[in-house]
Every structure is written in structure tokens, then in C-alpha cells.
């Protein structure tokens, strides 16, 4: 439980960086995986989940009002669930745990976006309704903006922390049940899914750079690296 609370607080900090600060990649799954790994003592598992989630999320750009999953919730819940599951007694299989982590993370990303959207909508409405009359004193105006800023950061932190606390608790519980209940065939299925899921990432990459003047560069570089690695 203390680890789950610590991870939820970490997600709050990431949300402040992502929604209030300068978006310094702290909230990206691949880096979130590193922080979750350091916090739980399972960097290999957490980073493996983080990379797979990052590959899947690569094609989703926060532009033109696109509805995007809550990547912070996805990353923390996915990496956290896998890191906590691998610590369970009974030597769970690494690839299976990673697969469960990625799947739970993807679901948490979708659910997290739906959970936080109305709460962040309230925040947005409050900020939109603020009026400053021409009689407002300068000091009172700047002070009000300062407190709005501080309140805004605190609210964003609290919303993400609570949301991830709920999702991570649920995700870990579901993940633990899944690892206990499933038979050999389903374990194989989940493992095979984790081998195939980078293909979704590959498609995301192609989709991202499939512009007329970049297409050739992308294909040539991919072919050269593939051949070089094959030869080595």
C-alpha cells in the first residue's frame, strides 16, 4: 500500500509537469517507467512496460483538440502493476507480467482520461468564469492571478493523484487475479501479445513520419539498420 500511495503522488507531480509546467517529458511512459522502476526496485520490468506503452502512444499527438488517453495514468498504473506483480512470491513469468502491465496500463489510460476529464472540466469552467472589473486594484489583480496559479497546480496534482490511486489499486488487484486465474494457454496468449504489440508501435512510427518528403528517409534508415543488425 505505501508503494501504491508513493506512485500515486509521483503521478501527481508528473501531472503538474504535463498540465501546468513546461512538459519536460517526465510524464512520458518511457521516462515514467524509469521513475517507477527506481521507486519499486524493479527498473527492468517497469522500463519494459514503459517502452511498449510509449511505442503505442507515439502516434497520439496532443494537437487539434484530439481526445487522448491519460498517458500518466496509463504509464504509472501499467509500470506500477507490473513492478508490484513481479515482486509477488511464486516467481511469475517476466514476459507475462509485462504483458499484463501493458494491458492494464492501456485500460487505465482510457479510463483515466474519462475519470479526470469532468474534473479538469470544472477547473476549466472556474478559470473561464473569472472576471476582473476595471476597478480591480493592481496588487489585488496580480495576487489573485498568483493564487489562481497555485490553486490550479494543487488541483491538477490532487485530481491525478486520486485518479491514479483508484486505478492503480484496481489495476494491481485485477492483475494479481489474472496471474492467479489464467491457465497455460492464456499465459501463452498474453506473452505472444507482448511480442506482437511492438508492431502497433511500428505502425505508429510509420503513421507519424509518413509525409511525402520524409517517407523515403524513414524507409531507407529502417532498411539500413535492419540489414546492419542482421549482419552483425
Amino acid at each position: 500500500m505505501p508503494t501504491i500511495v508513493a506512485l500515486s503522488l509521483l503521478s501527481g507531480l508528473m501531472a503538474v509537469d504535463h498540465r501546468v509546467g513546461w512538459q519536460g517529458l517526465l510524464a512520458q511512459p518511457v521516462f515514467a517507467g524509469v521513475f517507477v522502476g527506481l521507486l519499486t526496485g524493479e527498473p527492468e520490468t517497469a522500463i519494459a512496460v514503459g517502452v511498449l506503452l510509449e511505442l503505442i502512444y507515439l502516434s497520439i499527438l496532443p494537437m487539434r483538440g484530439a481526445r487522448i488517453p491519460d498517458q500518466i495514468a496509463g504509464a504509472i498504473v501499467g509500470c506500477g502493476t507490473a513492478a508490484l506483480l513481479i515482486q509477488n512470491p511464486g516467481e511469475p513469468l517476466f514476459v507475462f507480467v509485462v504483458a499484463i502491465g501493458v494491458f492494464v496500463g492501456l485500460l487505465a489510460g482510457e479510463l483515466g482520461a474519462r475519470l479526470t476529464a469532468p474534473l479538469l472540466g470544472i477547473h476549466n469552467r472556474i478559470l473561464s468564469s473569472i472576471e476582473f472589473s476595471p476597478e480591480t486594484e493592481r496588487t489585488s489583480l496580480t495576487r489573485r492571478v498568483f493564487w489562481l496559479h497555485t490553486g490550479s497546480a494543487t488541483y491538477v496534482f490532487a485530481v491525478e493523484t486520486v485518479s491514479v490511486l483508484i486505478l492503480l489499486s484496481a489495476g494491481y488487484f485485477a492483475g494479481a487475479r489474472l496471474t492467479r486465474l489464467t491457465g497455460g494457454a492464456l499465459v501463452e496468449g498474453a506473452e505472444y501479445w507482448s511480442y506482437l504489440v511492438p508492431a502497433v508501435g511500428a505502425a505508429s512510427l510509420i503513421h507519424l513520419f509518413w509525409q511525402h518528403h520524409l517517407r523515403r528517409l524513414l524507409i531507407v534508415c529502417a532498411a539500413v539498420v535492419f540489414i546492419l543488425l542482421w549482419l552483425i
Binding site: 488517453p69 473569472i130 497546480a153 502497433v200 511500428a202 503513421h207 524513414l218 534508415c221
Partner: protein, 252 residues
């Protein structure tokens, strides 16, 4: 009380830069970044409005939306014009508003293309390669370099915008930005290609069938992405499908 027409100075510009780092915190549907803009302008404008006048802040509460990494350029330029206006140059409030409107649209588009469309994917692609090959120092380097790039761009922006004022419009009308964008686009696509090569090289390690299936899945996902189906949904739906197929094969 400060004298009217006094220069803003580097220290106050730095104060505006610090506040601009948290610009997105006050994002709202009605005025977008207007409250963040006022927050950033408040320390710098104190110097020429006699610490009591709020009109300069109130007039900047109108709609404002730009790429956060290029907003410091606009803020620097606005501060320069406000300073010149106070110094007696023939600049009206309408001119300043026109300057803001003329710059924010193009800078928002340029910033989105450069940072969200290319620089961020470039950094993340590098990070994925380093993470796949378990190189923590590489990950740390990407994290630091990206943050240094973003923060120094914002710091440069506020001083450059302040130094140029009206000339900013001419500066961004030239072909310089397009050259920078082409370089970053080329780098992003190349590193994207490297990651693609790495991914496809690793598929056969789980059997040749996996390589073939991965190729088919890539093509199908690409088709779905073109039809605005999110990649996350493709991966989610694939999970029970794979488990079901494995269960069927297991029963045989």
C-alpha cells in the same frame, strides 16, 4: 515609485520567463492562455506603470493562444512595445494588439510543428532505442537535452523578443525557420527509421511466424490509424483476440 519610461531590465525579464514556464497552468476555454500571459507580464510591467496602474494588465486579458515554447517571443515583443509606448514613441494600444494577433497564429503553428510534431517525437524515439538496449545514461541524456532545449528556447525567446520588438514579424517571415524545421524533420524521420529497423529486427527472435504476423499487424494498424482509430484501442482489442486464439490452439 519607479519613473515612467524606465527600462524593464534583464532581471524583470527573467521573472517573466520563470512565470512563463508555468503558462499552461491557467489555460481556460474562454481566454486560453490569457491569465498566464497576464501573470507573466505582471512583474515586468510594474516598472513603467508606477506599481498601481492595472490598465496594462487588464487590456491583455483578451483571448491569447500560442505554442507555450514560442509565447516568450510574443511576451518579449509586447514588453518592448509597451516600453517604447511609454517612452513616447507613436505606438497605440491597437498597434500592440495587432502585433500580438499577427504573431500568435503563425508562431502557434510553427511551434506545434517544431516541438510537438518533431522535436518531442525525436526525443521519445531516441529514448525508446536507449530503453530497448538498456542504456540508462542514454535515457538520462535525452531527458536532460530535451529539457535544456525547451527551457533555453523559452529563455532565448523572451530576450530575443524584447530585443527585436516589431522586427520579430520580419524575422519569422523569412526562410530561416523553414530550414530549422527541415533539419529537425529529417533527424526525426531518420531516428524513427532506426527504431523501426530495430523493432523489425527483434520480431524474428520470437520465430519467423512472429515476423510475418507483425508485418500484417503493422499494415492493419496503419490502415486503422489512417481512419482515426487510436493505436491504444488496436492494442487493447488485440489482447483478448490473441488470448482467444491461444486458447483455441491449446485445446487442439
Amino acid at each position: 515609485m519607479a519613473e515612467l519610461g524606465q527600462e524593464i531590465g534583464k532581471f524583470r525579464l527573467f521573472g517573466a520567463f520563470i512565470r512563463l514556464l508555468f503558462l499552461q497552468g491557467l489555460l481556460n476555454r474562454r481566454g486560453m492562455q490569457n491569465l498566464g500571459l497576464v501573470s507573466a507580464l505582471s512583474p515586468a510591467t510594474k516598472v513603467f506603470d508606477g506599481f498601481t496602474d492595472r490598465t496594462i494588465l487588464l487590456k491583455h486579458l483578451s483571448f491569447f493562444n500560442c505554442n507555450p515554447n514560442f509565447t516568450p517571443l510574443v511576451v518579449g515583443g509586447v514588453l518592448k512595445l509597451e516600453e517604447e509606448k511609454r517612452a513616447g514613441k507613436p505606438i497605440s494600444d491597437e498597434d500592440i494588439e495587432y502585433f500580438k494577433r499577427a504573431l500568435t497564429g503563425p508562431l502557434a503553428a510553427m511551434g506545434d510543428m517544431l516541438f510537438i510534431g518533431n522535436l518531442k517525437p525525436l526525443a521519445l524515439t531516441f529514448a525508446c532505442i536507449f530503453a530497448i538496449y538498456k542504456l540508462p545514461l542514454g535515457l538520462l541524456a535525452v531527458f536532460l537535452l530535451y529539457n535544456i532545449a525547451i527551457i533555453s528556447c523559452r529563455l532565448w525567446g523572451i530576450y530575443f523578443g524584447y530585443a527585436k520588438g516589431w522586427e520579430l514579424v520580419d524575422f519569422f517571415s523569412g526562410s530561416e525557420f523553414q530550414k530549422v524545421l527541415s533539419i529537425v524533420e529529417g533527424a526525426s524521420a531518420s531516428v524513427g527509421g532506426v527504431l523501426l529497423g530495430v523493432l523489425f529486427y527483434r520480431f524474428p527472435q520470437n520465430g519467423q511466424t512472429t515476423l510475418a504476423l507483425a508485418g500484417i499487424l503493422t499494415a492493419v494498424t496503419l490502415y486503422l490509424l489512417r481512419r482515426d482509430v487510436p493505436a491504444s484501442w488496436v492494442a487493447i482489442i488485440l489482447f483478448p483476440t490473441t488470448a482467444f486464439i491461444a486458447l483455441l490452439i491449446g485445446q487442439d
